[in-house]
Structures are given as structure tokens and as C-alpha cells.
């Protein structure tokens, strides 16, 4: 069949990855690593906080990973949890080795819309990774925002990301509250789920905005807690996960109701989603 056998393509196009070198690597938790990457062709990958790339290790497959670096400069940073073969291969890359990068893709956190308002950043587990660029941008321009607050929850103290940086963010003017589901006696912080922190946080419910990322169930409960505090779902933004394979809105896999997560997300206003998330298996 002539058509099926046609295997050629003009280059380069959005489907061909660029080679990046691993220049730094830090273990965050038992199964999660943060990788710093520099492009081999020298061109920095410009991105907006909340966007993602399609990241691949040679021949082990490709996965969508949110960008965790500083939008203001520096290397491309990805925090990756090894949950499958592709992510395990990415986490196994050593400094000096190469990874493939496509992107950036997707709709970012709408930080400019939050100017003048209190900003509540709410993260669960690995969900802090897509929020890190937003936090860095908020801190860099904090004179333009009201109170900045981070509510962060993990399953246990050793499951928390960026622990050294949490203190730094706090020192720079962000109120940081951390909670874990369970902990030993050495843990002196909060124990309990993230939504419970919402009730303690002070913010102006009429103008504040919230940025959420974490397991869907955690986000649902957080949205209810925010609603009880007077913050409506139009002003809650959430980063979603679906099966993204192309990043270019062509493969169809990441559909979520009338949207494509790679194009219309991953960041949504919760009000855009709640109708669809209420339907099981949509």
C-alpha cells in the first residue's frame, strides 16, 4: 500500500525532539529526581510557568512532564517520578547523557490575571513540580501581587519535594504551610490533608486566586474548602493530567470533555472543568 509505506518527512517539525544534555541531577524522594538540562544546539527553551514538554530517554518512550525551572533564566528543569519504564529511564539518565525534548506545549498559569490579588498556591505530592515556575515568577514580581501563600501536602515527610527551597521561599516572603498525611515523632509540622490548611489560610476571598496541582481527589476537596472560604471556582486554576502523546493536539488521547489537555490545558479554570469532572469515566 503506497500510503502506508510512505515513511518520509520534511524536517524538523514539532514531532522531532531536540537533544538536551543532563547537566545537573538531584534526588528529591525515593522515586523522584530533578534533572537540569541544557540544549545541545544552545537555544534556550523559552516557556511560561505551567507549560510542559514531551521528554524522552533513548528508545524508552516519551512522556509529558511539566517544566519546573525558573522562567526567568537558567537550565530547563524537570522533576520526574519513576512510575513506569519511560519515566524510570529518564530518571536513570546520568549527567552528561542526553534526553530528547519537544515543546513547550500547553496553556500556562495566568499569572498576569492575578496581579493585585492574594495568591494561594496549593500542591499535593509531585504536584508542586508544575507550580515551582509559578512560585518563582510570583516571588520575582511579588510587589505586583498581594499575599503569597503556599499550602503543600505530601504523604510523608520524605515524600516532599524541594525541601531546601521551601525555607528559601518562606524567607523571600511567601507564607509556606506544609502538611503530611502521616509522620513519625520527629516531624514537628502539620499532619493531615491539604484542604484542611485552606481553612487556616488568610486571604481576601473576593479577589484572591488559587493555583492547584495534585491528585484529582485532593484538588476536588481543596476546591470545596476554597468555596467554603468564599473563593469561587472561576478563580481557582488547576493543572490536569491525561494521556498526552503528541503535545500538538493531533493524537486525541488527552481529551477531557470538550477540551484537549495538551492544547486547552494543562492549566484550566476549575469552573471550566467541574461539569466534566463530575461525570465518571469521562
Amino acid at each position: 500500500m503506497g500510503a502506508a509505506a510512505e515513511l518520509t518527512r520534511p524536517r524538523p517539525g514539532p514531532m522531532v525532539p531536540a537533544s538536551f544534555t543532563v547537566t545537573g541531577k538531584r534526588q528529591e524522594t525515593a522515586d523522584t529526581w530533578t534533572l537540569e538540562l541544557e540544549p545541545r544546539d544552545g537555544a534556550r527553551l523559552e516557556f511560561a510557568p505551567g507549560q510542559f514538554t514531551m521528554l524522552s530517554a533513548f528508545g524508552a518512550g516519551e512522556v509529558p512532564i511539566s517544566i519546573s525551572g525558573d522562567p526567568g533564566g537558567g537550565p530547563l528543569v524537570h522533576t520526574v517520578r519513576a512510575v513506569g519504564l519511560a519515566t524510570a529511564a529518564i530518571c536513570a539518565a546520568k549527567p552528561g547523557e542526553a534526553l530528547g525534548v519537544r515543546g513547550p506545549f500547553g496553556r500556562p498559569w495566568p499569572l498576569e490575571e492575578l496581579e493585585g490579588a492574594d495568591v494561594l498556591v496549593v500542591a499535593g505530592g509531585i504536584g508542586l513540580a508544575p507550580l515551582r515556575p509559578a512560585i518563582l515568577a510570583l516571588l520575582a514580581g511579588q510587589e505586583r501581587y498581594g499575599r503569597l501563600r503556599l499550602l503543600y501536602g505530601g504523604r510523608a515527610p520524605d515524600q516532599l519535594l524541594y525541601t531546601a527551597e521551601l525555607e528559601e521561599w518562606s524567607a523571600r516572603g511567601m507564607e509556606v504551610a506544609v502538611t503530611v498525611d502521616s509522620a513519625g515523632p520527629e516531624w514537628l509540622g502539620h499532619v493531615g490533608v491539604v484542604p484542611r490548611l485552606v481553612h487556616r489560610a488568610r486571604f481576601d476571598p473576593d479577589s484572591a486566586g488559587a493555583l492547584l496541582c495534585g491528585p484529582e481527589v485532593m484538588m476536588r476537596f481543596t476546591v470545596s474548602a476554597l468555596a467554603q472560604a468564599g473563593l469561587t471556582s472561576e478563580r481557582v486554576r488547576a493543572s490536569m493530567e491525561r494521556n498526552m502523546q503528541c503535545g500538538t493536539a493531533h493524537c486525541g488521547h488527552c481529551q477531557l470533555g470538550p477540551t484537549l489537555v495538551c492544547r486547552d490545558g494543562p492549566v484550566y479554570a476549575w469552573s471550566e472543568l467541574e461539569r466534566w469532572l463530575a461525570v465518571r469515566e469521562l
Binding site: A4, G252, Q255, P258
Partner: protein, 380 residues
């Protein structure tokens, strides 16, 4: 159509079209009979067309039948669509060699050898399907140059339907039966007692140039009337209908309708409907390595929302049940597509009805959901 754009081409001169296309370097893809069906393949002369054949189509049923005449285009759409050429079933996106440090050196793509295609015999619903696929593949922020290249040089010679099949419902979808645009030349086949000819409309400059190489004559009033009667005949024969009034919100209101459960009892989740659909564009993107681990290729293949893997995320499939997969497919086609790409994803070609092994009928499913609301309204 303006009168000046109407011409006639006699049946005995029809093969001049193949000659003219060959001289211009086109490979003609058109309808031909293979394995007891009319499929789209490369053809070189009118002798390879399904002369004197027609098709009988019903839900889950397709049969070729002999016609009493020698019509070249006396049938409706078959199992293939032009999607095979716009978005081939399997494409290698790139291939690369592994470097010592795990990096990739992309191997130079071979020179592009895909033929320059002329699509002969595309129907109105199919022209709309091509337009819909173009919007999906070429209308967004990211476009793959390979997708663009596949469409660039295509010449389209449309055929106006002179009859409609039992599974056709293009009238409902506003996509036919008569093509108004999206072609270089459109033909209407006319069979009279002692004359067999085609009425041609030119849709582009390229089409006009091509016409100049054919032995043609201006269409007279009688010939134009005959073509018009053929178009009317197709419109009158439309086998099925789908009421699209408010269809998007109708489906959005009915995501938990018990009808999804009922259709899932019959649905095989085999994916045939998505494969034959001329607009279903879903593909998987997967890596292939050689055994030695020295080379890697990334392939894009037709995929289907009816598979378990389709909606896989860490922790399992979003749509584990057949109920949710059928609902995904039908609501995508008729409703969410409108939000995603600005039009319906359905062109009313009826392929999903005919080629469903168990004959599930999208028009019947949409009607059942609409009727369930009418029943609901009647309740106190």
C-alpha cells in the same frame, strides 16, 4: 454553479482524464473493486473503475450488486476513505542513531518519494471530511510539515452523488449530497438511452487547466437539467437522518443517559467505526528500537478511543468501561468536536453504521437519546 463553469465530457473521452493527469505527474487514486467491495487504490484507466457495479448497504451489511447499466460511479462510499492518504495508518515520524552518551543523531530523512496524488471520485461528504481533517492537523498552533506536505499537491476530482445509500445521512449533516467547493473538478455522471456523459464543474484554476486538455463542450440546458435531476435524486434517496438541532447540548445533558449502557451491551469495542470514519484522527505515538539498541524510530499509528490503552494514565484507564468509550466516541463526533475544532466531526457518510460488525447505528443512538428527553418532558 455558474453556467459558464459547466461543461460536458463524453464517456468515450473519459480516459483522456487519466492521460492528462499522468502527463502532469499525478498518481490517480480512485474507486475499484477488490475483495467484493469498492475500495480506493491506485488506478490507471477507467477500465479499473467499478463499471456497472453498485453497493447495497445497511447497518452491519455491505454487498456489491450488478447494475443494469455501465455507470462508472453508480455507488456510494465504501470501507476506505481518503484519510488513508491524509493521515496514513502508520507513519515513521523520525529515525535516529544512538550516540555513546544516549543522545540521538537524527538520520537524514530519505528524499520525499510519496507520489503526487489525484483523488478521483471523492464525494461531497468526503470533501467535507478532508476539510475537517485539515482543520485538525493543519489548523492549530503546531503543524507537522509532513502532514502539510501530504496535502499540498493533491488534486481532487469530485463525483456528485446521483443516488444515496441506505446508510447515508449527509443531508442531515449539511455536507451533501452535492459538493459546492473543495474540488478542482466535479463530475456528474449522466446515463441516457443512447448517451453516457459527464457534466463538469470547474472549482479551481488547476481544474480549468486540466479541463483544457480534455475534449469537452459547453453544457447545454438539457445537460445541466439532467445533472441537477441527478443531484435531486440523491437528496431524495437519503437513507437515514440525524436531527442535529441543539445536538451538542443535547448530548452534554445526557452523559448519564441509560442508553449508553444499552449500546454497550451490543458494542464490541472493536474500533471498526473509528477506523472507517473519514475524520477520526486519533493516533498513538510509540518508540521502536532495534534489538541491538543502536537505532530508534518513533512511529505514529491509527489508534482508537475504543481501546483500553487510549485513555491510560498512571493508575489505570480513565475510560475502563465500553459504555464510557462508546459515549466518548459519539459525543466527540457530534458534540465536543464542535468545541474543539469548530464543526461537527461527523459528515453523515454512514461508514460507521455499515462497517460496524453488529450494526450499531449512530443515527439511531442519537435519536434514542433525543426521544428519551421527550419522554422525560412528558412526565409530570
Amino acid at each position: 454553479m455558474s453556467e459558464s463553469a459547466s461543461h460536458t465530457l463524453e464517456r468515450q473521452d473519459f480516459d483522456e482524464l487519466f492521460g492528462a493527469l499522468a502527463r502532469r505527474g499525478y498518481t490517480v487514486v480512485g474507486p475499484t473493486v477488490r475483495d467484493q467491495a469498492i475500495v480506493y487504490e491506485e488506478i490507471a484507466s477507467s477500465a479499473e473503475l467499478p463499471i456497472g457495479w453498485t453497493d447495497e448497504q445497511e447497518a452491519g451489511h455491505y454487498r456489491l450488486r450488478r447494475r443494469e447499466d455501465a455507470a462508472l460511479f453508480g455507488y456510494n462510499v465504501g470501507p476506505h476513505s481518503w484519510k488513508r492518504y491524509q493521515l496514513p495508518p502508520e507513519v515513521r515520524l523520525w529515525r535516529a542513531r544512538r550516540d555513546a552518551d544516549g543522545g540521538l543523531t537524527e538520520l537524514e530523512p530519505e528524499p520525499r518519494t510519496a507520489p503526487r496524488y489525484a483523488f478521483l471520485g471523492a464525494r461531497s461528504c468526503e470533501l467535507h471530511a478532508m476539510g475537517i481533517l485539515d482543520r485538525v492537523l493543519l489548523g492549530g498552533a503546531h503543524t507537522d510539515p509532513a502532514d502539510r506536505a501530504r496535502r499540498e499537491d493533491v488534486l481532487v476530482i469530485a463525483v456528485q452523488c446521483a443516488q444515496a445509500g441506505n446508510t447515508c445521512f449527509c443531508s442531515s449533516m449539511g455536507t451533501g449530497p452535492t459538493a459546492e467547493s473543495g474540488f478542482d473538478i466535479a463530475l456528474t455522471e449522466v446515463l441516457e438511452q443512447d448517451r453516457h456523459y459527464f457534466v463538469l464543474e470547474v472549482g479551481s484554476e488547476r481544474g480549468g487547466e486540466l479541463l483544457g486538455e480534455l475534449r469537452h463542450a459547453p453544457a447545454g440546458q438539457h445537460e445541466r437539467a439532467a445533472a441537477s435531476a441527478a443531484h435531486d435524486r440523491a437528496a431524495a434517496q437519503m437513507g437515514r437522518e440525524l436531527d442535529v438541532t441543539d445536538i451538542r447540548d443535547l448530548l452534554y445533558r445526557n452523559l448519564e443517559n441509560p442508553r449508553w449502557e444499552e449500546v454497550a451491551e451490543r458494542c464490541l469495542s472493536c474500533g471498526n467505526c473509528t477506523m472507517v470514519c473519514p475524520t477520526c484522527f486519533c493516533t498513538s505515538v510509540e518508540d521502536v528500537t532495534d534489538l541491538a539498541g543502536e537505532h530508534v524510530e518513533r512511529h505514529q499509528r491509527w489508534d482508537s478511543c475504543f481501546t483500553v490503552d487510549y485513555s491510560h494514565i498512571h493508575g489505570g484507564s480513565v475510560r475502563a468501561s465500553t459504555r464510557s468509550r462508546y459515549r466518548q466516541w459519539m459525543t466527540h463526533k457530534l458534540a465536543t468536536w464542535i468545541d474543539q475544532f469548530g464543526s461537527s466531526g461527523c459528515v453523515g457518510c454512514g461508514r460507521c453504521i455499515a462497517w460496524c460488525p453488529v450494526g450499531i447505528d449512530i443515527t439511531e443512538e442519537a435519536r434514542a437519546i433525543r426521544d428519551s428527553e421527550a419522554v422525560g418532558d412528558a412526565r409530570p
